[in-house]
Amino acid sequence: MEEILRVNNLSKRFEDIEVLNNLSLSVKKGEVVVIVGPSGCGKSTFLRCLNGLEEIEEGEIFLDGEKVSSNKKNMSKTREKIGMVFQSYDLFPHKTILQNITLAPIKVKKRKKAEVEEEALKLLDRVGLLSKKDNYPRQLSGGQKQRVAIVRALIMHPEVLLLDEITAALDPEMVREVLDVVLSLAKEGRTMLIVTHEMAFAKAVADRVIFLENGKIVEEGSPKEFFEDPKTDRLKKFLETFSYEK
């Protein structure tokens, strides 16, 4: 299968701390890559470098064969191709759900309003939120907001979708409804990079799992190998923190 995203020797530091250390990665079209690792190991920073929210200092990123540069003008172009959903609810509070979703396609892609709205309603229906189209974000639960945020990213037709701990701030009973949407996206063959702490979900959704620690890839493999037969001690230790045995 063809490669869609390639990262070569990416490094990133904040002042004295090396957050990403010579990281390389290749993602194929339609692949779902899950990134796990202890808090502060650089997962968010890595995703943010991919869509240019952090400046790339060392290394290269190629999307669809084209080099992603920190150049401002090219960056907006790249961001159209990479969708991202964040951990904290980030809907625009002054716009209705429908307006939240249609803003970027209308303004950035210059698509016709009627056509965009039609697509938005279809997507909202798919995530079970059609009835909320005229509500404001404050009237939605956390889980509903995250589903809208996914739709808002999807309607830009991104080639790669980045999800950064999108259920981490949710009440437990709302996690499922959001992850189900992500699972259905994986089934339809979307390319995704997912950061999560939900190990059962990672196992179910991933084609490949990566363990990141101190800004380095320590281990990677298929979900089966990764969770059932971890090679490195550090991954074993990390996975132990998620299991409860007497």
């Binding site: 240019g52 929210l53 172009k77 961001r79 990479i82 964040f86 625009f92 002054h94 970027a104 303004k107």
Partner: protein, 222 residues
């Protein structure tokens, strides 16, 4: 009760005219304050040490100086000391704008820094450029926060304009005093009627504005 003096001649019209002067001075001052306040408030978020030092001193001066002192300084200071002939109206507009710009810039700074970084980032992540992000995402949110607050500033300005009679402007309170003086013999109770009417006029001018601000605040809360 003293209300009868208001029916004499064009007394009521004169009172309304006085209120008009007060409204005129405060509305012009508010317009200037909003304009300059937005610029200064935006500059304050840049965290430039020179701008910050300047604005801190400026805000502090406004906070500790009674407006009346500022009025006297500008009106008498400018004419007597600098030899510039400022009309009383211009002097009061300068003073009220000086005051209003300080308040406004602080409100703008608060509104700007109150907008979460994630709002900029999620807009950028959708492919919007800086101009689109400000135009569609950031500025509408700032305006929604600012409008109720600046309306509140307008009502406070209208109230404070009663000070300008101290430098000779014939605004509503001054007209009231003139009416009372002129009818001292025939209606000894005029003071009550006139001041009660002025109270009502101020109320009628400020209450709808204050209601509007409450309504907008409720409508836009998020």
């Amino acid at each position: 009760m003293g209300f009868e003096v208001l029916l004499k001649g064009n007394n009521m019209l004169r009172l309304l005219g006085g209120l008009g002067v007060a409204m005129y001075i405060s509305l012009i001052s508010v317009a200037i304050s909003i304009f300059l306040g937005i610029i200064l408030g935006a500059l304050m978020t840049l965290k430039n040490p020179v701008i910050n030092a300047f604005s801190r001193v400026y805000l502090e001066i406004v906070r500790i100086m009674p407006q009346m002192v500022l009025l006297f300084i500008v009106y008498f200071g400018a004419t007597k000391v600098l030899g510039i002939n400022l009309s009383a109206e211009i002097s009061s507009i300068i003073v009220f704008s000086f005051w209003g710009t300080a308040e406004m810039s602080d409100l703008v700074r608060g509104a700007l820094s109150g907008i979460d970084k994630i709002q900029y980032e999620s807009s950028m992540a959708l492919g919007m450029n800086t101009r689109q992000t400000y135009f569609h995402v950031i500025i509408p949110q700032i305006i929604r926060r600012l409008i109720p607050l600046s309306i509140n500033l307008i009502t406070r300005m209208i109230k404070t304009t009663s000070l300008v009679m101290m430098i000779g402007i014939v605004e509503v309170l001054k007209v009231g005093q003139q009416i009372i003086e002129a009818n001292r013999k025939s209606s000894p109770n005029a003071a009550f009627g006139v001041f009660a009417t002025i109270f009502l006029l101020y109320f009628l001018a400020c209450y709808p504005i204050s209601c509007l601000s409450k309504y907008l605040e409720k409508k836009w809360e998020n």
